[in-house]
Symmetry: C2
DNA sequence: CGTTAGTTTGAGGCAGATCAACTTTGGTGG
DNA sequence: CCACCAAAGTTGATCTGCCTCAAACTAACG
């Protein structure tokens, strides 16, 4: 959603293609550039010492990432990994400074985006305390599949997004399949009844 | 930290005093204004249907709040409650629009603040998955007490900030008191060894 | 058509929540 | 200044949702 706004400024920018599983930057690295997704899917993950991964945000076609650290003026707080074959446009910090200076109206878009993300992050934080695992899994299924229907979400990705384990995701999905609210199709799945799922995610506390 | 920047613009603004426990705005309300704290302490909480409260952010002297919803252009996603007697300066949306228009440099400050907050929220989100309750409690004790030493933090507030229960906070604090890392003093407590606490919060996984 | 990444299912364990009963603190007003 | 009492804190006992571990199974790709 950011890309079209910037397109005029970056025609000549450096491009890079990464394949599924490839790391784009690591937590702790110092930002040298911003990234735009020309095509593909990228996940932002926090990986703790014991190896536990938390799936913080997804970025799709036309989304920007790396901007949070750039504007916070800190090192990256998490790691970005390509979830599928992805083509990136790389914008240098210098380039970004120029764009920001000459186009202050983009800052308003950035403020709105960050404020929205902050709200989502805080609601997820709260949800982790007061919702059951299956409620969070259902929410994640809806969010991930409705937003990026073409991607085959693994149980592990869904688990890390919902703050559970992949075994728990498997069990919940099996139950939802039996109840005909989703249908499993190989490693993929489809949503059959969005409304009932939404309802169910709310009544499961 | 925002107040001083804005002081020139708001001399004549409306002021309001609230006492401990008073609600300033509710989740779901539509923002009509922004708030600055002239003096006192305010907490942002998410309260779920079953009554479980999550303590999302603290605001102290010279902090602004209510801005996230204003800039995201959504209803409030959480509730603000005064943690002590607090004097507020209320800025209307119209006033805010004018300030933003005439002082685009303030937008840069806002972007940085939101980006920083988003990073913190996401790290807390990840911490909820990969850290033990006592590790999170120790982090919360350090954060809350070092940032606002004058406030007498209740066990309930600490629990809601760390994502645990007040009984667990009591047990962890009793242990830390025995180990002479903190000292309990009536309902208050003091930090005796910041470094060892920091270390301990890291080794407790 | 072999290999590997991803999925499924069951059994068992535990960190920390919940429930319950009791004590202490510190503010208030008589 | 003291007596009262509501709010806050303490401690122990019990319970449970979900994670962990383990051991097959199966899709899908080269």
């Amino acid at each position: 959603m950011f890309y079209p706004l910037l397109k005029p400024f970056i025609e000549s920018s450096h491009r890079k293609t990464v394949k599924r599983g490839e790391i784009i930057y690591h937590e702790g690295d110092t930002p040298e550039s911003l990234y735009l997704i020309e095509d593909g899917l990228v996940g932002l993950f926090h990986i703790s010492e014991n190896g536990k991964e938390t799936f913080l945000r997804v970025f799709g076609k036309d989304d920007m990432f790396g901007h949070r650290s750039y504007f916070a003026e800190t090192d990256y707080h998490a790691t970005t990994i390509a979830l599928s074959k992805t083509t990136l446009v790389i914008i240098s910090k210098k380039q970004c400074q120029e764009i920001c200076q000459h186009h202050p109206e983009l800052m308003a878009t950035m403020v709105k985006m960050l404020a929205t993300n902050l709200g989502h992050a805080e609601l997820r934080l709260a949800g982790l305390q007061d919702k059951t695992a299956s409620s969070r899994i259902i929410e994640s299924l809806l969010f991930l599949k409705l937003k990026y229907p073409e991607h085959i979400w693994t149980r592990k990705e869904i688990a890390e997004f919902s703050g559970t384990t992949f075994e728990t995701v498997v069990r919940v999905m099996t139950k939802l399949d039996e109840e005909k609210l989703i249908e499993k199709e190989g490693r993929n799945f489809n949503i059959l009844d969005t409304d009932k799922l939404l309802l169910k995610s709310k009544e499961e506390v």
